[in-house]
């Protein structure tokens, strides 16, 4: 999900030890880009994030009406800080396992949040990595 000023939140999921899904969380600013890799993901997190993003896009004052989404398993927390008619300010926090900042505040648009609400559901469709070795190419 893109934000004004070059900020973005990246989420991508996969299955490492079926049926455990993991999620990679990326926080981007023009001066920094940090990934938190293979965080275990609670079932239903994509659905809760989708509802959160859509509520932020829909509600007049989401900072009053939309509750934060927390996932203690992956250490991700997303909350609304403020809003205008066209923009919403979000705060993303990730339990840090590095020395880099694990918190990001950014403004995004309500249009962007609507798209994020649809895109984030893709996290549910993570597939198991193929554990078989690559076939030898001995032609």
């Amino acid at each position: 999900m893109s934000g004004y000023g070059g900020a973005a939140l990246f989420l991508r999921s996969e299955v490492v030890n079926a049926p455990q899904r993991v999620v990679d969380v990326g926080l981007l600013t023009p001066s920094d880009f940090v990934w938190f890799l293979e965080r275990p993901m609670t079932a239903g997190l994509p659905e809760r994030l989708a509802e959160f993003f859509f509520g932020c896009a829909r509600d007049l004052h989401p900072e009053l009406t939309v509750g934060a989404v927390q996932d203690s398993l992956c250490g991700l927390e997303v909350r609304v800080l403020s809003s205008t008619d066209s923009r919403v300010e979000l705060q993303i926090e990730v339990d840090g396992d590095t020395e880099r900042p694990a918190s990001l505040n950014f403004l995004t648009s309500r249009v962007g949040l609507t798209q994020a609400a649809a895109d984030v559901r893709v996290l549910e469709s993570a597939v198991v990595q193929d554990p078989r070795p690559m076939p030898l190419m001995d032609w």
Binding site: S2, Y4, G6, A8, Q115
Partner: protein, 203 residues
């Protein structure tokens, strides 16, 4: 219509929805070169948001304008200006390479975005564009590359280049029209366009 609209193969029915200046601090005493890159975003992406996001990752970001195509695809024209000497610092033969490479790297952050067309401009190239629009070369002799690019950006607001050049002298783009004058021809055009009072000619 305007140089950018005519040159970058915009589909009929494309609509400009906004523009911006990045407020770059440029040494106009040095030789400067510019690029313009037309980027198409994903169908459901927000043109204003994605253009702002992309611009924030361009090291030589100068400004641009964004809009929506007739098929619903949002797009943005990303304008950049850099010292001509920047290319030599990284060993490139092409003086536009630092800007083109910067745009290419920034596009990696939005996998739905793609570069449709781009073009580089020297000051001489920009002077030729103005001359082709019936502007006396003597009238823009002292214009810097940022000034010339701002003029082309202002032209996208449906104000002819000769009117912009004339307005630079009086610092008013619309002397015969009642408006809240900004006493700067470029900002004058941009502020009147923002009020929705400038429209393309009817076909």
């Amino acid at each position: 219509m305007g140089y950018f609209f005519d040159t970058f193969h915009f589909e009929p029915g494309s609509r400009m929805t906004g523009m911006w200046q990045a407020g770059a601090h440029l040494d106009v005493g040095a030789e400067l070169v510019a690029t313009a890159g037309l980027v198409q975003f994903g169908r459901d992406q927000h043109d204003e948001l994605e253009a702002d996001f992309l611009g924030a990752h361009l090291p030589f970001h100068f400004g641009g304008f964004h809009g929506v195509g007739p098929d619903g695809h949002p797009w943005a024209m990303m304008l950049q200006i850099a010292p001509a000497s920047a290319a030599a610092l990284v060993g490139s033969d092409t003086q536009f390479w630092p800007m083109l490479d910067g745009l290419d790297r920034a596009l990696h952050y939005n996998w739905e975005a793609s570069l449709l067309f781009d073009r580089g401009f020297t000051r001489a190239d920009l002077m030729v564009i103005y001359a082709q629009q019936d502007v006396e070369v003597a009238a823009i002799e002292d214009w810097s590359v940022p000034d010339l690019m701002l003029g082309l950006l202002a032209e996208c607001c449906y104000v002819p280049l000769p009117q912009i050049v004339a307005g630079r002298i009086t610092q008013c783009a619309f002397p015969d029209y009642s408006h809240e004058c900004q006493y700067d021809v470029f900002n004058d055009v941009f502020s009147v366009w923002m009020t929705g009072q400038l429209n393309p000619e009817e076909p």
